[in-house]
Subunit: 392 residues, 2 copies
Amino acid sequence: MKNLFADRMNKVHKSFIREILKVTEDPNIISFGGGLPNPKSFPVTEIKEVVSKVLSENGEEVLQYSTTEGYLPLREYIAQRYAKEGLMVHADEILITNGSQQGIDLISKVFLNKGDNVLVEKPTYLAAIQSFGLFEPKFKSVPLLEDGADINAFQRVLDENKIKIFYSVTNFQNPTGITYSKEKRQQVAEILQNTDTIFVEDNPYGEIRFMGEDIPPVKSYLEDGILLGSFSKIVSPGMRLGWIVANKEIMDKIIIAKQASDLHSNYFTQRVVYQYLIDNDVDEHIEKIKKMYKKQRNLMVKMIEQHFPDDVNYTKPEGGMFLWVTLPEGLSSLDLFDIAIKENVAFVPGKAFFADGSGNNTLRLNFSNSNEEKIEEGIKRLGKAIYELMGK
Amino acid sequence: MKNLFADRMNKVHKSFIREILKVTEDPNIISFGGGLPNPKSFPVTEIKEVVSKVLSENGEEVLQYSTTEGYLPLREYIAQRYAKEGLMVHADEILITNGSQQGIDLISKVFLNKGDNVLVEKPTYLAAIQSFGLFEPKFKSVPLLEDGADINAFQRVLDENKIKIFYSVTNFQNPTGITYSKEKRQQVAEILQNTDTIFVEDNPYGEIRFMGEDIPPVKSYLEDGILLGSFSKIVSPGMRLGWIVANKEIMDKIIIAKQASDLHSNYFTQRVVYQYLIDNDVDEHIEKIKKMYKKQRNLMVKMIEQHFPDDVNYTKPEGGMFLWVTLPEGLSSLDLFDIAIKENVAFVPGKAFFADGSGNNTLRLNFSNSNEEKIEEGIKRLGKAIYELMGK
């Protein structure tokens, strides 16, 4: 068979993370590589109860085909939750997706012509590069500072290029754990106001803030912004339920793209998750997750302080699941990976998260899907590996 | 906001069916318009049992992220079921999709450059036109005869055009109910053998044969063919679980496209459906569905014989959910729709299923999601409307 594949397939490759994580399946390896929530946080018992209820009360209905937009009461619930945070959106401006990752696919379908510029953060969420990548855009990057995008660089890239989409993870970013300050959010909104750049704000981790104060999404200041949300980090990722918030004009197009892509998201689990949300105290559930992650994050920071060389930098995230390490310039986290594997500890080399191929001296550590014992021992081992890499 | 939408969005519109069906939501209207399985066929009690089992035994695991390819034992089960029918495929050649509709999206991503030719049947499955349409191909059509594609026309269109994909629903096609004969399948396979045309065989209804003998899929004769399957018609459409079968070289690309599109399909329901399949006698369950649909199909055919004018033609499907009516040349099923709605009966005008805008005198009737009373009364009313349209 000769190569009949579409051009776009030459530009997108299997996830480097998934490939590299295969090495770490050995149970002797302590892995900070994955990007998973802690399964101990899943409300298994509660889900079991509500599934039984949903099937008993509306079995035939919940197993049938449903609407493209998603279950209306679930969309209303999401709208009400935003309203509590001060963001006013209507249920008609929400569509349920097959995980928030699908939101990127649908937005790409709706907006991207081949060769359009997509601006991402440096570094950015790896799977977003893949998802946008299938639509053959050109990627531009804006560096991240401690409080969000470097605004001068951001303004410059917008001045010099026609940017179709700016994609940003504003809370506890994957991979860095960085959060945009309120000021940065307002600056981004102000700069993008009345431009032809679509702002896509991906917020899968926003509910998992275990320190500091909640900050309104950029969409609060930028009405036409698109916002992505997810139940993966607060209920269950295996159920693949996320959503898109967009104004009615954009939503009309997203509905068409969703219909063409897979008709609608899993209706059975939409009903299950909705029932779970209304029958339980979700905020209490989220508090438990926060408590668990905060403890693990604090321990990881403490162990890094004790066991990493002083010239290694790292972020101190106020939420989410990841912490980002920067080795001194010139060192390679791929070389570190080889040493670390011999010490039976693993992480994700940061290079994968850079659309421009840089980031050689960075790495991502996950603290959510771990425990205190593993963090204590794993960071010690990683520290040892870093010292070895640095020849100290 | 000026028009920032991608070019592809100008070519794809909201489903005509979904729009037209809104008219039929009035409970006084007997609708043969929808394309739904009969909810009475859903195994609600059995699903309730297996969900409880799955959550009790592996709750944390089934709610977690999972692999892009899908749950291996489920893929092995599908492979074994094909083996029983004589089609040998490996579990590695199967990927679980978010409904078989997503299969078309993923195949489009993997194969279609803008302007490539996609050959469809005339008429064809409407949502396939939408799904391929997002990738901006040119559509070519091949007429359907009673036993499948018109082979002379098929050969001609292949001779005259470089066809990238031929998309076909070989069993009890939506919308016509037409099934390819064994001879036609072999002819199609022979013609496509060693060409650069990818054959996509969509088979959501194959298990619902209530008359005649099973015929092997075209893929049995054409190793590189792609086959789409679905649990929607035999377990539950609301769970959105389908699959793609493709050779390893193609599957490698499909995995990349799936990963970029939504990471993986709903893992929780994959586990639930798998547990359902191994804990129950699925063939017995399918027999019940067949019995129900056969009864309804037979009654619909009988009522049409009695109540439609003699010069109205219709198919007599051996399975599936649809029956196809052709009015005498020159009549419009859109005009008929207006008359029928006044008689409180509805259907889908056939025009929607033609990629070339023809089919003005055709209509689709669904017999699965109905009952004997409705079929009896509804077909009488529709007959009356047809007589009125024809001025008889």
